[in-house]
């Protein structure tokens, strides 16, 4: 299945796949709306118009998109190296826990210049540890990363809730201590929405990943491992090491998304904080065809769909908008192979 999800190298074709997926989703979404008895045209129009016209809603979309971009980038990075990291949810949870605990245990007077990097490092490191263990299990023991990710998701969720209950949660609530002021990221001025400086962080990270992927030997190496591990091995690349490192990097990106939720918004460990972002990140990576810029656009789009529900809540049931997110993933899964199959006729097999 992975080979069908994995992106190719022809940007035009990737764009085509994303466009087809999008049109397909819109078509299916419209049918769903018709079935729900509302006019699709009205809903789509209202979703765009109301969101674009309301700084608060726009801010909420961007807040969602920030977390989604980082999680999507995490999935995309692993996909590049031929690994399907569906453990982003767990890596994000580990990041949230580590970030909040670090932020809350710093001395009250820690300046931002120290507190922010420390919290970011803790979040990334926690995600990286979870990711690396998945990668190492795959590389050393051949355990399939999809299975181990699912298991680790459950374990991380259990452990963090347990730690929360035992140590962190304050008197009858499901909220831990507030992180120090220095570690709190400023909100961006958008009518009181939750969008915060983590958006800038996400943009910087996207740029860094793009640069690594396209312009450096690291990127070539992990893409080689993803495309043809046997060839990578033959030219001296240690596939096991690359897989482990890429999964660590992927986990770190997922962990960094904690900045958006903990440092930028809730300022504390909360049960269920950021939940679902990791899973939706998979859709983001698939829709974005694994390209950093594609991921960014896909994150905004899915952010719009998940926040857009709020905007058109009076027109369609909320569940319909949730279904739409699933429809997007299915459409990508359908469009990818279709484009890939067509491309077979574009690239001739002229051997002999």
């Amino acid at each position: 299945m992975l080979s069908l999800l994995r992106p190719g190298s022809n940007p035009r074709r990737e764009l085509e796949a994303a466009a087809i997926a999008l049109l397909l989703s819109i078509a299916i979404g419209s049918l769903l709306m018709l079935a729900a008895g509302v006019s699709p045209g009205r809903v789509w129009f209202a979703m765009i118009e109301r969101t674009a016209g309301d700084p608060y809603l726009l801010g909420q979309v961007l807040y969602k998109a920030t977390g989604l971009a980082l999680c999507g980038l995490a999935v995309a990075l692993a996909l590049d190296a031929g690994l399907f990291n569906i453990g982003v949810e767990g890596q994000l949870s580990a990041g949230v826990l580590a970030c909040a605990v670090t932020g809350a245990s710093l001395p009250e007077s820690t300046p931002g210049i120290l507190a922010i990097p420390l919290c970011l490092a803790a979040a990334a490191a926690a995600g990286a540890v979870v990711g690396a263990s998945i990668g190492a299990l795959r590389a050393m023991r051949g355990a399939h990363e999809v299975i181990t990710s699912i298991m680790l998701n459950a374990i991380v969720a259990g452990v963090s809730l347990w730690i929360g209950n035992e140590v962190l949660f304050q008197g009858g609530t499901t909220r831990g201590n507030t992180i120090v002021e220095g570690a709190q990221l400023p909100l961006l001025p958008m009518s009181g929405s939750s969008v915060n400086a983590a958006l800038v962080l996400a943009l910087v990270v996207v740029a860094i990943v793009w640069f690594l992927r396209v312009r450096t030997t690291w990127g070539r190496t992990w893409i080689a491992v993803g495309q043809e591990p046997a060839a990578a091995r033959a030219v001296g690349i240690s596939v096991a090491r690359v897989q482990t490192l890429v999964m660590a990097g992927s986990g770190a990106l997922a962990g960094l998304a904690a900045a958006n939720f903990v440092m930028g918004h809730k300022h504390a460990f909360e049960e269920g904080l950021g939940r679902g972002t990791g899973f939706l990140g998979i859709s983001v990576a698939l829709l974005g065809r694994s390209h950093p810029v594609g991921v960014l656009l896909a994150a905004v789009l899915l952010g719009l769909l998940s926040s857009g529900g709020l905007a058109v809540g009076d027109l369609v049931p909320k569940e319909l908008m949730e279904m739409l997110q699933g429809v997007v993933v299915l459409s990508v899964a359908a469009a990818g192979p279709w484009v890939a199959r067509r491309s077979v006729t574009v690239v001739p097999e002229v051997a002999a």
Binding site: P348, V350, A351
Partner: protein, 515 residues
């Protein structure tokens, strides 16, 4: 039997422009041409696995509607095809593959018992014995191919198309296959064989169609007298072939480039001891599956092995694959599609794959990558001459040139392992690749050529060793290779056949013949 005049376009590129082929029933018809000439495409359209864009096709006395012609219809019309790289599902057995898609028995149950017996009987009848219960991925390439031929005949193929069937076979297997094809034709079946090996054409073909750049440029037939191989070769390449001389052997005092001492890989390779001097080309002959793969991989450090591998006089046994490459080794893997190339990457990127001497350590030096690509494309005549071309779209020969160029352009090359360097590659590319291997030796590298093609080894090598069941069972040096019966001696060693009487004095002299 088949009258074809076909056109096929891929995008804007026309790979067949009304290429014609006329196959008479009961004959062996050879379709020859260089890589990229369109041979595979032509037979695939006839077999219904690729759709034709224009032209006409007649099968028997039936005119075919190209737009609706597919594999199912072709099979029903009695056309069987054995594809170049095989088309078997590896985890299934021979009999399971044979019935794939047309399972006998009442749905949903499959009844294999009858087919099993029929396959075995049919295989014995046509001289291609098969083991119906063997798993396909555990068979040698030759055995897997035999199974596919028998399966095609089992499905009632009257016309059997074989796409480069000999590319993966040993000389002995080739001989057997060609004899079988002749016999099948005598029994009334019609054979189309795609090849670019002219000695095979001479041995087996009644009629010959020559394709060049998507057009039929010549036809030959034994009906008009014996086939003239030289004329066929001229038609294929459009010019006379250049001849090359064997390089002079390096002096006995030349330093060691690659030394293997008691190299062992599981039960596949047993205590191989071999020294290759700088400037020397040493061939490894043998039937596929006698340890060649393990030999190449263990030298490159890609499988666990025991014994000592020394590169340029230094013990490399404990080194990682990357460090062995850094120590002066180059490795041309036997299967370019699975282990040699990133098919979805560009020619330039493949040429610079993991070559930090070209790319730089971290940020890629794009100017140098481009310059390197331009140089190599020029030197090996890689086509299309476009560094940004995706490798998947290149012909087999040009893909192989990319691998050769990347590996042999490594700095301070000391030892080269070239595993099946010209498998499935056209004549023009063979000449380039052999030239490049010679150049590497001339520049001071020791070259180990592992090949199932004995002609290739005889043309290139100063010395040939023969592998049988993971052991070196014989060795012929320059003097012995010039003997007229060198080919038979190697053939006998490859198959483990005892030579007549007291054995061969030359082999005894080399002292390497195992009992």
């Amino acid at each position: 039997m088949v009258e074809a005049e076909l056109t096929k376009r891929y995008g804007t590129r026309e790979v067949l422009s009304l290429a014609t082929m006329s196959v008479r029933p009961g004959t062996v018809h050879a379709l020859v041409g260089e890589n990229g000439a369109g041979k595979s495409t032509l037979v695939k359209i006839i077999a219904g696995t690729v759709r034709g864009d224009g032209g006409t096709l007649r099968v028997g006395d039936q005119s075919i509607d190209l737009a609706r012609w597919d594999r199912t219809r072709a099979r029903a019309a009695g056309i069987g095809i054995v594809q170049q790289h095989g088309a078997s599902a590896g985890t299934l057995s021979v009999v399971e593959n044979a019935v794939l898609g047309v399972e006998p028995g009442g749905w949903p149950l499959i009844d294999l018992a009858e087919t099993r017996g029929k396959l075995r009987a049919l295989g014995d009848e046509v001289g291609l014995p098969v083991e119906p219960d063997a798993r396909t991925d555990e068979l040698s390439l030759g055995a897997a191919q035999r199974a596919e031929i028998v399966a095609a005949l089992h499905h009632g193929a009257k016309l059997l198309i074989l796409d480069e069937p000999t590319a993966v076979l040993t000389p002995i297997e080739v001989e057997g296959l060609l004899a079988t094809l002749r016999r099948l034709a005598t029994e009334g079946r019609t054979i189309v064989i795609v090849t670019h090996k002219l000695d095979e054409v001479r041995t087996v073909a009644d009629d010959v169609t020559v394709l060049r750049a998507g057009k039929t440029v010549a036809t030959f037939s034994t009906a008009q007298g014996p086939l003239e191989v030289a004329a066929i070769a001229r038609a294929m390449v459009g010019a006379d072939l250049p001849t090359v001389e064997r390089l002079p052997a390096p002096p006995a005092t030349a330093p060691e480039a690659l030394k293997l001492e008691r190299l062992e890989v599981g039960t596949e390779l047993a205590a191989i001891t071999l020294t290759i001097k700088r400037g020397e080309l040493v061939g490894v002959a043998g039937v596929d599956g006698n340890g060649q793969r393990e030999l190449a991989l263990s030298i490159a450090g890609l499988v666990t092995s025991r014994g000592v591998v020394s590169i340029d006089g230094r013990d490399a046994s404990q080194l990682s694959p990357a460090r062995r490459l850094a120590a002066g080794l180059a490795h041309i893997p036997e299967d370019r599609l699975h282990g040699g190339l990133l098919l979805d990457a560009t020619v330039a990127d493949n040429l610079a794959l993991a070559r930090t001497d070209i790319t730089g350590r971290f940020v890629i030096d794009r100017a140098r990558v481009a310059k390197h690509a331009a140089t190599q494309i020029e030197e090996l005549d890689i086509r299309p001459p476009d560094p940004s071309a995706i490798v998947r779209g290149l012909s087999g020969g040009n893909q192989q040139k990319v691998v050769i160029a990347r590996e042999l352009s490594r700095p301070s090359l000391r030892a080269v392992i070239a595993a099946q360097p010209t498998r499935g590659v056209d004549l023009g590319a063979v000449v380039r690749i052999h030239g490049r291997l010679r150049a590497a030796a001339q520049a001071g590298a020791g070259v180990l050529v592992i090949s199932a093609d004995l002609d290739e080894l005889l043309a290139l090598c100063h010395r040939i060793v023969v592998l049988l069941r993971g052991r070196i069972v014989g060795e012929l040096d320059g003097e012995q290779l010039r003997r007229p019966d060198a080919r038979e001696i190697i053939g006998a060693l490859m198959t483990g056949v005892e030579l007549a009487a007291d054995g061969d004095p030359y082999l005894q002299a080399s002292g390497r013949v195992s009992p």
